[in-house]
């Protein structure tokens, strides 16, 4: 009798623990159904629309987010560098390459919850395409580092996980066609403190 009760309890524990835990895990991960991966960058073109899959819908409700519409833009998030290693706030990175067609884009650093990280200095931890310096071939090299760097500099500070968020505004890539041809810049780690 006691054995049966214990077995039932075990079944219930597995069902609730594993079932609830797996939802919690998948909603925090920057991957899964509806994701489009281009190098280290991930986007969810359908997120926040009525066409979105249940995972995207739950993600939006849980974060309380109001996502960008198709005519507004498309948001890409990177949580690893181009070699697949996690992004860290104590490291320096170089973001290099061309950018897809858009009226303009913005790039900022965020923490794990995708809240922007304040730089703590007059120079904001945000770059956008109107202020960026370009190479002769129209590509850009952006240095992400704690210390000031020449060229395009995106300041970071502190330690812990890091995310890059790149938003393209008024862009044809937000329409579902052609996302496979899009090329995004690479993220290369150049060094770490400590």
């Amino acid at each position: 009798m006691l054995k049966n009760a214990l077995l039932t309890l075990l079944s219930l524990a597995i069902a609730i623990g594993l079932g609830g835990g797996s939802v919690w895990y998948t909603l925090d991960a920057q991957s899964g159904a509806g994701a489009i991966r281009i190098g280290p960058w991930t986007a969810f073109p359908d997120i926040g629309t009525l066409d979105a899959d249940p995972y995207s819908q739950a993600r939006v409700a849980r974060q309380g987010a109001l996502t960008l519409g198709r005519a507004e833009g498309l948001s890409f998030i990177a949580e690893t560098d181009s070699r697949g290693e996690d992004l860290l706030r104590e490291c320096s990175y170089t973001i290099e390459g061309g950018f897809p067609t858009a009226r303009f884009w913005t790039l900022y650093v965020a923490d794990q919850a995708l809240d922007p990280i304040a730089s703590g200095r007059p120079h904001r931890a945000v770059l956008h395409s109107h202020e960026i310096l370009r190479q002769p071939d129209n590509s850009s090299v952006i240095t992400v580092a704690p210390n000031a760097a020449p060229g395009n500099w995106l300041p970071i500070s502190g330690s812990g996980p890091l995310r890059f968020v790149m938003n393209f505004y008024d862009t044809p890539i937000a329409a579902s066609t052609g996302l496979s041809d899009v090329k995004l810049p690479t993220i290369v780690r150049t060094g770490c403190n400590g």
Partner: protein, 182 residues
């Protein structure tokens, strides 16, 4: 031993069911969604700033730090809602969301007459009434047909650098969200 395996198997099947049920219930029972956050800040038909003001956390996630944004909640069962904002800014865009935060419709300044922000959100039934005789004040408006009752309209504006802050802040502070009876 067989009974233990059986219990684990039942547990795993149960886990799959719980996973699906929890996933589908999250949007219904979320108390942190955009609508609830806005409801705590302002009443219907009031434009509220969404970007982080000094001393308070960002009420809505996924707002670009180089943007200012404002939102208002509306209920089309009361009537149409007209959203306007004066003056030129480098870039603005508007999204209409339903009660659950789904994006119904979006457009940006290139869609507007002379780049002026003037939009009317209405139901298809109200659109039929408006088509019969266009009321005064709607000549330059963008009409957004939305088959919803309650919803949120969000206006975002780009702040390229410090010098644009006062202009963009004024653009959003002077924006209005008005119930229009017809």
């Amino acid at each position: 031993m067989g009974k233990l395996l059986h219990a684990i198997l039942v547990g795993l099947v149960g886990a799959a069911i719980v996973h699906i049920v929890v996933l589908l219930l999250v949007p219904q029972f979320s108390e942190r969604d955009a609508w609830s956050n806005l409801a705590m800040k302002a009443d219907f038909y009031t434009m509220t700033r969404l970007d982080a003001q000094p001393g308070s956390p960002t009420p809505i996630k996924s707002i670009d730090p180089s943007f200012y944004a404002a939102a208002c909640r509306f209920d089309l069962a009361d009537g149409m809602v007209q959203v306007t904002a004066p003056g030129p800014v480098p870039f603005w865009s508007v999204s209409v969301y339903d009660r659950n935060g789904h994006n119904i419709y979006s457009f940006n300044d290139r869609s507007a007459t002379k780049g002026q922000m003037d939009a009317v959100v209405l139901t298809p039934a109200q659109m039929i009434e408006v088509r019969k005789a266009l009321p005064d004040g709607f000549e330059g408006s963008i009409f957004v047909e939305a088959p919803i009752d309650e919803g949120i309209v969000v206006l975002r504006a780009f702040v390229p650098d410090e010098s644009w802050r006062p202009t963009v802040a004024k653009f959003l502070d002077q924006s209005s969200c008005e119930l229009q009876q017809f």
